[in-house]
Subunit: 642 residues, 2 copies
């Protein structure tokens, strides 16, 4: 039997929802499992796959159910159990594969020369119209289990071992997401409690270390966990062999960057490693903490991923996982602005890959989410949170009385994206008109001509200004050029307006500064902020960095001495800033390759760089003021050929 | 630590939805698992339980998670893992138990003298307002697993063993739901393929037997299955020991019946055994087939259960399992009339137990289901199926052009129940007015004065009459007395109108005949139909019985030689008919006990009978024309006392 071209099949989105739950339920903090605190959308437990074949001759096939999946095949009039070969044809035969599983999404596999589980199977959930069954490149063999995501495993040995505090401390060259294995030299010696740290200080702090565990006696392995340092109390370094079995999703980094400046090269390389660790089955915020799928973090990951891996699938998986089932009853991660960023993510994804295939598939879900958002407008037309909704925007001292200006900017941006992407003209006009009306209302109520700025709240009368509304107006192109320049002068470059304190919103701010041409300031910030972490020995970039703090105080966050994630996806943004604004790689419908490269003058005297742009790979060389560019289209990743 | 008064807790309805899936996915037919073909509603996989205590002194407690449930407790500011004892108080302490599980409903247990999982815990699903956490009498010990329903197990040995067709045939005294164990006399002899039959004929038919399996090598047991006969090909009776480990839900039968007439006594006893086998975690249609939870079958089970076990919980579990989550997108089992019967079931349940507690809990779900039904009315106000909906009513040759009259009768009955049970006067008036308008429209369009009957369809012009609309008009009291008498004469007692062929609808027809006083005809039918099955050796009553067929043709149904279920809940209706109409036990608000007994004259010269009526037990004795009645209130079933 030929299995080429066959895949495991499931109901679209349900495998993503299953693995998203696994991911969001996987966080453990000091022995306490901490499942994510939002509505977790489930998968369908009973589905039926159908297809009609017109067969020229008799052919044999076998249907398999995923472990735990029960059901049978109806072939014409016959019922056949899973795992039993049967023949069909010649002539027309209708196949129905009934499948149910409580614990995981029901999945089936059909092996056969003609009849097999490739494209063209439909699936029904006994509620909504049939849709095409989903499959992916990771699940192509009949002996796989779709509940277990295939990982690439590599074994690393420590690069340092020392005796400290009456125990053995082992250090790895960089941070890993690994199952740490501990083999005591003395056979039969009980396995110790193992402390895993992102920092040396954390691993040695047996009181406050975030993750500790006793290895599984059978495998001698700890659960997969973010780790750079391993501490074994009561051991000397030679009394145990410690190995890290690093497990990563198979998402190759396509980018490389050498501009001759060691600091920038290192920033790019460490950002790439940081981001790569956070690319698991989904975009994660960080690998030690939260290990959750957050819509705001994922939005920013799209911009880095565009240039670094160009992996289409992780973007789609993440956006499916964030959105859940229709109808939407809650917001993405409960956060109103993350719902808006989810809609904007579809727009970014379509731009990265130069097609709207995924956006078309998700359009109804975008519309239903937008309708939920629009239903939350107040009498003035401004978006408000419901009880239980979280209007986050950023950790900042907003004046939160009444509607918040920054939230309205995000709504305007999302309406603009819906208007540009709507498949139907009337729909497009409706969203465009709503956006225009909203921006007019924003102008009337939030614009403060005297301050040359948007106030957070028009209700309170306090005329409090933060940077956020201005930044969003610029990056989402919601105001005209003179207004952008005014906002830059009076807000972004005004030291009187409180600084952005989170790297999350710093991403939007640096983007805005780049758009307005302030590249030198941005480069200086990259060297200061990201270079500053490197000077403190960072092997991955952190969730947050405050240069004013002494080194030993760098690991605390959220009131927890090791609460800070030292490998955080949003810290990889230099890749995006360098690629988009300094190297100047952008989509360009007028160019033959669909892309154009316009390096910003005066930054690179020489450059040897490879970048992804969606499914294209772009090689860029600069020598003596000359830029040469080579664009190649990648083949699909490991797709099976029939 | 004192565990008295502590229960496992979960999100209301979710344990029912979990076990309903297990049940509906458990059917196996000739090696083919056959999960039920309708939308299977899932459970919440992430919830949080909360409670605030005001503690007079320090107290200790321990929180447990069900196997597979991950999470932790937040007690004030502290986080505590499951399974770790901790102390709280004195003073106010707020406890939050975070819990997640993908494969089963997350469940928790709190053991402690003061802080424990009894009533008063609230639970949230991150989407809808907090509700009181659910618990039940079956899950009270910390070492239980809520995924495994506790069953009472009894071991039975065969009452016959013989050599037939080159194999050994073992017979049990009656039908069981058992794990059959096979112990070959010769140690090491391979376990044979085992054939399990409801009938002797089925067990011996190794080609077409519905259920066969090879016992688990470790336990030597087959999966739990309906069985009366066991066939081991190639064995002689003495070459194996065969035992049936009968497993049943712990729902005691409270009723007993002795009227001195052996045939009636036996009908009552066999009906009680039949129904008891079908009372599993939920009301099942049958124990060999389908083993599914059907809304129409469950509706009828309510009437038998009222008098036989008075078990409140199985009724509530079944109705919760049938209904699924809000908002309803599909009908109960996909069947429009089963949605209507679900609403009517709440009414019957409230009558049985003399309170509206469950109806109040489910009211919002009744309203949302009724709104779905009302949204399907056509321009004339008649209920229609949507594509994919099943308008079943009965297996009968209806004229199905346009709206079907019987379906409108059920809608009128459901509207009437909603009007009677609505907590709010305006709501009650709205439903009553809709019912009245509907019955007026039915009168205008479906009533055929010439025939003295309702036609199936007014659209086709064929004026085709079946019994169903007339029967429903009578049992749901939708027309006045003269009309009922006319319908009896022109339809029910008219041999020209095609007979009801299914025992399912025969239940409604016999009910209608009893209401109109035709008790002698009904008793004759009970003796003919149920007595007929007994004369063929039935140990349980069948899904269907056609006296005209020869014995060997009695087992076929749905085009399958052994497709007929020989132990089917709806065949237990003599219990209801005898209790309600012949013994005359009914709710009576005017009576001191809330019940009255009015035996129909001329049927019982003597009677020694115990019946349940909800949570009351009623002893009825008739001697020399004198009826004596004793009513006792049962204590709650095994409820834990704190």
């Amino acid at each position: 039997m030929n299995n080429a071209g066959a895949y495991w099949l499931w109901y679209p989105g349900d495998l993503e929802r299953y693995h998203a739950m696994k991911q969001n339920f996987s966080r453990v903090e000091r022995g306490c499992p901490w499942p994510a605190f939002w509505k977790s959308d489930g998968f369908r437990q009973r589905v039926v796959f159908r297809r009609t074949y017109r067969l020229a001759e008799e052919t044999e096939c076998t249907v398999y159910g995923n472990p735990g999946t029960v059901g049978h095949v109806v072939a014409g009039e016959r019922k056949v159990p899973f795992g039993t070969p049967f023949t069909c044809g010649p002539g027309e035969v209708r196949l129905s594969i009934h499948a149910a599983c409580i614990a995981c999404t029901p999945a089936v596999y059909v092996a056969g020369d003609v009849i097999r589980s490739d494209g063209g199977w439909m699936v029904e959930d006994y509620c909504t119209p049939p849709v095409e069954a989903a499959r992916n490149r990771y699940f192509t063999e009949p002996d796989q289990d779709v509940a277990v995501w295939p990982m690439v495993e590599e074994c690393f040995l420590p690069v340092s071992a020392e005796t400290v505090n009456g125990g053995a401390l082992y250090g790895f060259e960089t941070e890993l997401t690994a199952q740490v294995e501990v083999i005591p030299a003395e056979s039969g010696r009980p396995l110790p409690l193992v402390y895993l740290g992102e920092s040396r200080q954390e691993a040695l702090d047996t009181e406050a270390c975030y993750f500790f565990c006793r290895p599984d006696p059978a495998t001698r392995r700890c659960p997969r966990q973010a780790v750079r340092w391993v501490f074994l109390p009561g051991f000397s370094p030679e009394e145990a062999v410690v190995r890290a079995h690093h497990q990563r999703a198979d998402i190759p980094v396509k980018a490389a960057f050498d501009c001759g400046d060691p600091e920038l090269n290192r920033i790019f390389a460490v950002a790439a490693h940081t981001f790569s660790l956070c690319c698991d089955v989904f975009f994660l915020d960080g690998v030690k903490r939260d290990k959750w799928i957050w819509g705001g973090d994922a939005y920013q990951s799209l911009f880095v991923n565009r240039y670094l891996t160009g992996d289409r699938d992780i973007e789609e998986r993440t956006l499916i996982a964030l959105r859940g089932n229709d109808p939407p009853l809650t917001h993405v991660n409960t956060i109103v602005d993350y719902s808006l960023l989810w809609i904007l993510s579809l727009d970014v994804h379509a731009d990265t890959f130069g097609d709207e295939a995924f956006l078309r598939r998700m359009w109804r879900q975008a519309v239903s989410l937008m309708e939920l958002l629009l239903s939350q407008r107040d009498g003035d037309g401004f978006l408000r949170g419901r009880p239980g909704d979280w209007e986050f925007v950023d950790w900042a001292d907003f004046d939160r009385e009444g509607p918040l200006c920054a939230e309205q900017m995000l709504l305007a941006a999302a309406l603009d994206a819906m208007a540009r992407r709507a498949p139907d003209q009337a729909e497009a006009v409706r969203y465009a008109e709503m956006k225009q009306a909203l921006m007019e209302a924003v102008e009337q109520r939030f614009w403060d001509g005297e301050q040359g700025a948007y106030v957070d709240s028009f209700v309170s009368g306090r005329r409090h200004v933060t940077r956020h509304a201005a930044i969003l107006a610029i990056v989402f192109d919601l105001v005209d050029e003179p207004r952008k320049q005014l906002l830059a002068e009076r807000v972004l470059l005004n030291p009187e307006v409180p600084a952005i304190t989170t790297p999350y919103f710093r991403f939007f701010e640096l983007d805005a500064l780049c758009r307005l041409g302030h590249l030198r300031e941005v480069l200086a910030e990259i060297r200061a902020y990201w270079g500053g972490m490197l000077r403190l020995g960072a092997a991955t970039f952190w969730e947050e960095y405050n240069p004013a703090l002494p080194p030993e105080a760098q690991y605390a966050m959220y009131g927890d001495p090791y609460g800070k994630s030292l490998c955080h996806a949003w810290a990889a943004s230099p890749i995006y800033l360098l690629a988009r604004y300094f190297i100047g790689l952008e989509r360009d419908p007028a160019a033959p390759s669909g892309l154009s490269v316009h390096p910003a003058p005066g930054f690179f005297s020489r450059l040897d760089c490879t970048l992804a742009y969606g499914e294209k790979t772009v090689e860029i060389t600069i020598r003596d003021g000359e830029t040469s560019v080579h664009v190649a289209q990648n083949g699909p990743e490991r797709s099976k050929q029939s």
